[in-house]
Subunit: 230 residues, 2 copies
């Protein structure tokens, strides 16, 4: 799976959250592009890049309940009507569209009666409508609230969640999560130093055993639920 | 009342609808500004202009369910957090925010199940949230669908409706409409040629008689409704 990460931020170097996310990128097949760093928008090149990707991630800080002007400029220039839905051809159809949005406000602010008075989902309606028009699949939004206040364990969790958002097959089910972790575990063990590899293999084998147990529990639960439905 | 009309369009000269709206501007106290024509954004000057206005109109074509990048750039630059709600001062509080939005799609497209799959109100959620944050009063949106297909009588109606949207006191009640027309009628008659002025005065006096009759009917209706409530 190829993932295209389009980052929009007017001062990327000054953004600790964006630098953190850049360093958290997984080793997978990721194309990463910072829109404001492009000297000019090469429409054909940008469109070709979109065609190649299976998952497209728009990543930006929320400015006045929307992406920065740079991303809107990219939309207005690259996403020509002819490209997106001209002649009843939909080159972006069935690609996934994900939104990674950072905000300095807390989660509670984004609800009716909250300080912002609008949910993130409602604020992102224009991008959701674009996905709808292009026949893309809208992924649940990936919000990062108040990055500056995150503790170390929360940041480590953020790395894993972000990597999964970029590369894990949808839906975000237990089975898909397990597969995603299992795939990465072997690679992580291989990259360990010689003396740590035994410990790494042990962790991997415990993970594998747990996984089998969870599968069995899952099957048992499914059987119980089926009986309940009778 | 001072109205500030901020127009955002990347090619204003090529837009027949925007040229039409420009020619339709009323003679009232209107400040009209084309954002993309500004060589640079003078933040202090733009903010001072906002402070002076009682009603602020954002006028633009709908590109991907939002304003063009130019307006977003203006928002990201001019509307600093300190200006809009810093130190619990709200310089835009109680000012009215109106949206004049043109679109090449028909009215029916903007509903669930329609071609666009989103209402204009939902698409404009970010601007509504901005109004909420700034403690401004959100006016009902003024949409112009498929300007290119309007017939002459529809265009004449559009001129009047647009002028009212820019200058008529809210809410858009019968009484406020009548007052608005009455105020303009004298001015129109005064500008007529000598030989047409008698006809003009006749029209004005019929309008005034009708208005009194409507007021009486209104009072009668109110009495009947009050009795119904018993």
């Amino acid at each position: 799976m190829t993932t295209l990460v389009l980052v929009s931020h007017p001062q990327l170097a000054d953004s600790t959250s964006q630098q953190f996310l850049k360093e958290s990128l997984p080793d997978d097949d990721i194309i990463w592009e910072h829109i404001e760093s492009l000297s000019s928008l090469d429409v054909a090149q940008e469109q070709a890049q979109l065609r190649r990707a299976d998952r497209i991630i728009l990543q930006f800080p929320l400015y006045w309940y929307a992406a920065p002007a740079g991303l809107k400029q990219w939309e207005d220039t690259v996403l020509t009507r002819t490209f997106v839905y001209g002649d009843h051809r939909y080159p972006l159809a069935d690609k996934e569209l994900g939104i990674v949005v950072t905000t300095g406000m807390p989660r509670q602010a984004f609800q009716r009666g909250g300080a912002e008075g609008v949910t993130l989902d409602a604020a992102l309606a224009p991008l959701a409508a674009l996905a709808h028009r292009a026949q893309m699949r809208w992924l649940p939004v990936f919000p990062i609230y108040q990055f500056g206040y995150l503790e170390e364990p929360e940041k480590l969790q953020l790395v894993v969640d972000y990597q999964r958002y970029l590369t894990q097959p949808q839906p975000d089910s237990l089975a898909n999560r397990q597969d995603w972790f299992a795939q990465r575990l072997d690679g992580m063990v291989a990259r360990l130093a010689e003396d740590q590899r035994t410990t790494g293999r042990l962790i991997a084998s415990v993970f594998e055993q747990n996984r089998e147990q969870i599968d069995q529990l899952h099957d048992t639960l499914a059987m119980i639920k089926e009986q309940d439905d009778d």
